[in-house]
């Protein structure tokens, strides 16, 4: 399996935030019984970079994060943080901050004591602890809640305190294990943006694990898509979306239409249009082009080649499903203003307007 990789820092941003520590995972393997949770995973994270591991459940993303945290051990491979081999270092000596999927605030402590816990273990005096606590709670906007207990906070607030607690000890690496998945949709989006803002503020190298592609694309410097214990592709979100390296990535990240295509040289013929091929496509003959709904145009002018099946209104955008004359069904995403006159069964012209396409075998 070839992993398409864009080197760390190539997106420009993270390398410039030099406060973080570089992290390398080298050839990690981990099996549970007969199941390979990690199958030779290697990953480089640049100082201050936020890498999101994305994948379906059971793909090994959480195992990778837990091995980096020291909460699980690798059967093979190495973990390097700031060039130091941490593979055998216990979790409490790794200097990492972690936010868990399950609420993990210590129930018998106030918010302040939770945030100060790590500082106390490091022997900081009371005054310094309180100052740092206040700074961290300011950062996550919860200064007014320092005397509360976990059960007096909402889920979103608890996760923000957990973030403040993890960052209070100024960890070399911040680990986020699906921190938003227990929250409702609106809070999730708010907190997601807040995590990114805080991470950019403090410049800590961060590994974020999620199964939510929208979350991954929204916050990451680079997104690594995992499948069966390996990375399929790791790239900045825009590149990952526009230039998926494998069929799995194309189908897992965003929606894709599958349209009949013919490969000729370095181009593919899709709905009569000639489009450049992406790496990883079949080299010749017939295949299926994976085309994003945004790359499909639907117009009432031009020679019709399809009929409208349905129009779903999604606010600013609408999703239009059409049946091509040859029977293929294609979904287009268009500005709602552009589709308000499209009725069911209306004859339309469907075209593909992509920079390049990935063509996979039938």
């Amino acid at each position: 399996m070839t992993v398409t990789e864009t080197t760390p820092g190539s997106s420009g941003e993270p390398g410039s935030r030099s406060t973080g520590t570089p992290v390398s995972l080298v050839g990690l393997r981990r099996t549970y019984g007969s199941q390979h949770a990690l199958d030779g995973l290697s990953l480089e994270i640049a100082p201050g970079e936020m890498v999101v591991l994305l994948g379906p459940s059971g793909c090994g993303k959480t195992t990778a994060l837990r091995i980096l945290a020291g909460l699980d051990r690798a059967d093979e491979g190495r973990v390097l943080v700031g060039g130091r081999d941490m593979t055998r270092v216990p979790a409490n000596k790794r200097d990492m901050g972690m936010v868990f999927q399950a609420y993990s605030l210590f129930p018998h402590m106030t918010v302040r004591d939770n945030v100060a816990f790590g500082l106390q273990l490091r022997g900081h005096d009371r005054e310094r602890r309180l100052r740092r606590c206040r700074e961290m709670l300011d950062l996550v906007g919860l200064s007014a809640f320092e005397d509360r207990y976990a059960h007096q906070l909402s889920g979103g607030q608890q996760q923000r305190v957990a973030l403040a607690r993890a960052l209070a000890v100024e960890p070399s690496v911040l680990l986020l294990d699906e921190p938003l998945s227990a929250l409702d949709a609106k809070v999730r989006v708010q907190l997601r943006d807040e995590i990114r803002r805080v991470q950019l503020d403090v410049g800590t190298t961060t590994l974020f694990v999620t199964h939510d592609q929208e979350e991954a694309l929204a916050v990451a410097d680079r997104v690594g898509v995992m499948r069966e214990g390996r990375l399929d592709q790791i790239a900045p979100p825009v590149e990952l979306y526009a230039r998926p390296a494998t069929r799995f990535v194309a189908e897992f990240v965003g929606l894709s239409n599958r349209l009949g295509a013919r490969v000729e040289g370095r181009d593919a013929l899709v709905l009569g249009r000639r489009l450049p091929l992406l790496d990883g496509s079949v080299s010749s003959g017939a295949g299926q082009a994976l085309v994003r709904p945004e790359a499909v145009t639907v117009s009432e002018s031009g020679e019709p080649n399809a009929r409208v099946v349905s129009v779903a209104f999604l606010g600013p955008f609408s999703r239009v499903q059409c049946r091509l004359d040859d029977g293929q069904v294609v979904v287009a995403q268009l500005p709602s203003a552009a589709v308000d006159r499209l009725g069911q069964d209306a004859p339309v012209r469907v075209d593909v307007d992509a920079e390049a396409v990935l063509v996979v075998p039938d």
């Binding site: 020291g70 909460l71 409490n92 972690m98 399950a102 609420y103 210590f106 129930p107 490091r122």
Partner: protein, 263 residues
């Protein structure tokens, strides 16, 4: 008006139910008090039989023995069981079923059978540690295991111990800190319940002590009830009061922890 009427009916039912329960529970206690303070042949009252509890060396020493047994058993049980159960939850969850099986085993074997089995072991215990009644501690720890296990298991199940421990570890806590500062404060209620149930069981245990020929409060009371029924009843009532005081102390302690925590 209907709701007031309903409220009144509900309140009356509650008061009546409470009164019935009070009568059911307190009448025998009052009868015991009455009987133990009655003066033979007259209508007067005397505290002689209560005084016997302190002045009679056999009784007073059996009280001391039983209280010491309760303390030792509770301490040994907590020292053995609490760290083991926390460790199993955190590090070897696959051993959970085995530990549960072992802890609940004494429930399934009648005390009589245990005593017969254990008497051979006690020959050795007596040989090595002497014949003090306090050696009963070992047998009593086994006896209280199932009850203490249940109390601790319920407390451990009510908090997400694994995630809390991992969070503490990631913040730099070693295992001792995790157990003492994170897990224990969150299962404190369970620890107190386990301690209480163990102490109460030991204070009332008769079979082991009697068959192994040790003088504890219940065995002495058993003998007394045949020779001096009044003192026997006074002793039984005293033991009951002691257990009640213990329960009140423990719950007051637990409440105080909660309120200081909230301050």
């Amino acid at each position: 008006m209907r709701s007031t009427g309903g409220g009144l009916a509900w309140r009356t039912t509650r008061v009546v139910a409470l009164a019935l329960f009070a009568v059911y529970f307190f009448l025998p206690l009052l009868a015991m008090l009455d009987f133990s303070t009655r003066q033979l042949g007259t209508t007067g009252r005397t505290l002689d039989s209560w005084a016997n509890l302190v002045t009679d060396p056999t009784i007073s020493s059996s009280i001391v023995t039983s209280v010491l047994l309760a303390v030792l058993t509770t301490v040994l049980m907590l020292v053995l069981l609490v760290p083991t159960m926390i460790w199993v939850r955190l590090r070897v969850p696959q051993a959970g079923t085995l530990v549960e099986f072992l802890c609940l085993l004494p429930l399934t074997i009648p005390p009589l059978v245990i005593v017969v089995g254990i008497s051979n072991v006690y020959a050795w215990v007596t040989y090595l540690l002497g014949d003090s009644a306090l050696t009963l501690t070992f047998a009593y720890v086994v006896l209280v295991l199932p009850y203490a296990y249940r109390a601790l298991d319920a407390a451990l199940a009510s908090v997400n111990v694994v995630t809390l421990a991992e969070a503490a570890r990631s913040l730099g806590a070693g295992w001792t800190t995790v157990i003492v500062r994170i897990v224990l404060p969150n299962i404190w209620g369970g620890v107190l319940s386990a301690a209480y149930v163990s102490a109460a069981l030991v204070l009332g245990e008769y079979t082991f002590a009697s068959l192994l020929n040790f003088s504890t409060l219940p065995t002495v009371l058993g003998l007394l009830s045949k020779s001096d029924a009044r003192t026997g009843v006074a002793g039984a009532l005293a033991a009951l009061l002691l257990a009640t005081v213990l329960l009140l102390l423990l719950s007051a302690f637990a409440r105080r922890r909660r309120t200081t925590k909230g301050a």
